[in-house]
């Protein structure tokens, strides 16, 4: 689309119509984000943009600005080929019991444990190590948990679908083995320093006791703040 074509397309819509379309896209993405489902640009086009496709770029620019200015959220494209977005939080959530915990929140504790184990093991970890760690915390992946239901399913399906974790085959293993890595959403949303603090609280240790990980976490935290 040339810029003159885009300009002619824009002239076909009133300012109110464009405002309304921006609001619709914001709503669509917020609803998807409730379940941390990554958003495909194709879906935005198909379900919301529809006839406004020639001014897609303008609408999306305003959508991004709205998320930042009104909600403190950032719309990030995590897959440049497939054009997949996630919405990440730029603000630090409030700790404590000011407001009742959302039912989904205990799962974040489960996720943090797994992300921290992966991080402390250098970024990739065999599946068995995760299950063994969870067992030590009385979260047996083979049994139904009161809070999480099927722990293995939450970890290998839900967290993967939400792109907090990557779960894949280890090549050239017989019988086949699987490994976990951090997912794209975790890379963008989770502070490694906060992760170490969390685990320190959980195991009652000082993060500085894990020297290598703490150094990397500090460096990672510094660089992420500057972006």
């Amino acid at each position: 689309i040339t810029s003159s074509q885009a300009q002619r397309a824009r002239e076909n819509f009133t300012s109110d119509q464009i405002d309304h379309k921006v609001a619709e896209v914001v709503q669509f993405i917020l609803i998807k984000d409730q379940k941390k489902i990554p958003i495909r640009r194709a879906d935005i086009g198909k379900h919301v943009i529809k006839d406004y496709k020639h001014i897609y770029a303008e609408v999306m620019n305003r959508v991004c600005r709205t998320f930042e200015q009104v909600f403190g959220l950032k719309l990030v494209e995590i897959d440049l080929k497939q054009h997949i977005y996630i919405l990440i939080n730029k603000l630090e959530p409030i700790r404590g019991q000011t407001v009742s915990m959302h039912p989904g929140n205990p799962k974040m504790g489960l996720l943090f444990v797994i992300l921290s184990v992966i991080f402390m093991k250098g970024g990739t970890i065999k599946e068995n190590l995760v299950w063994n760690t969870l067992k030590k915390l009385r979260l047996d992946p083979g049994e139904k948990h009161d809070e999480f239901g099927d722990v293995k399913k939450v970890v290998t399906e839900e967290f993967v679908r939400q792109k907090y974790l990557e779960y894949g085959k280890i090549p050239h293993t017989e019988p086949v083995e699987y490994e976990f890595r951090w997912g794209l959403r975790a890379e963008k949303e989770v502070s490694k320093l906060k992760l170490l603090e969390f685990v320190g609280e959980l195991f009652d240790q000082d993060p500085q006791n894990w020297t290598q990980q703490f150094r990397e976490a500090s460096t990672s935290g510094t660089s992420s703040q500057s972006t």
Partner: protein, 249 residues
């Protein structure tokens, strides 16, 4: 020129999005915390007005609502772009939504403003989209309560503050004249007392009855002046009054 949105307002809004509804006391604590973390001096009503100004182009609004049970004020994040309960579709299956509509029917059509678990579970057996077994229906009911759409007490289910505030346009459209408002506060009245004068029959919320008739030994209907025969409930002072007295830094 309206006030700019700061990180404190954004953080408050994020919490409203996560919770859907908070009590006035919770909102007060949240407001205080957001101002401490990100700076801010305005009172909570002004603070929320700033948020609402920026939500307006997005057809969203933080609205106040009163609990029909105890008169306590709440803040609800309302999505005005949706005109029916398809907004719940992100969280529920088609037959679960159908059950929810039936529950609303039962509650609106009842004199008590509530529906028994027995009546609800009987409805679950007659769903058009896909029947729910009794055990499944019980789980769905629990989910409605957990997500703050319904309240349950002793096996009786009522519509929550969140539901009444968010679903008001839908309810007015679907139920029309069956929906009555409280004579005192002018909000939808489901759990209420009714004047027994056949030519009057106004409805008044229990908390509104308590406030209106407070310290009167000989209560009369505010509309037709007939004797008000119902027992005047005792209500403790609404939480919102004490929350407004919380010091805001």
């Amino acid at each position: 020129m309206s006030r700019q949105m700061g990180d404190g307002h954004r953080l408050f809004l994020q919490n409203m999005m996560t919770n859907g509804i908070v009590s006035a006391a919770q909102a007060g604590m949240l407001h205080k915390k957001c101002c401490e973390l990100h700076g801010g001096q305005e009172k909570i009503d002004d603070f929320i007005n700033v948020v609402n100004t920026h939500l307006q182009p997005l057809f969203m609004h933080i609205r106040k609502g009163m609990s029909e049970e105890d008169g306590q004020e709440h803040f609800v994040l309302v999505n005005m772009a949706e005109t029916d309960i398809t907004r719940m579709a992100a969280d529920y299956a088609e037959n679960e939504l159908e059950l929810f509509r039936k529950i609303m029917d039962l509650i609106v059509e009842s004199d008590s403003g509530s529906a028994s678990s027995t009546a609800i579970l009987n409805s679950a057996d007659k769903l058009i989209s896909k029947k729910l077994k009794k055990k499944e229906a019980e789980l769905v009911l629990n989910k409605f309560v957990q997500d703050k759409w319904l309240k349950e007490q002793d096996g009786e289910y009522t519509l929550s503050v969140r539901c009444i505030v968010e679903m008001e346009p839908y309810m007015r459209t679907i139920y029309q004249d069956m929906i009555k408002v409280c004579y005192v506060c002018h909000n939808i009245a489901l759990q209420c007392q009714v004047c027994e004068n056949p030519s009057c029959e106004i409805k008044v919320h229990l908390p509104c009855v308590a406030r209106y008739f407070r310290a009167r030994s000989d209560p009369h209907c505010p509309a037709c002046n007939d004797f008000w025969p119902h027992e005047i409930p005792e209500m403790q002072a609404p939480q919102s009054q004490s929350s407004q007295n919380l010091p805001s830094s």
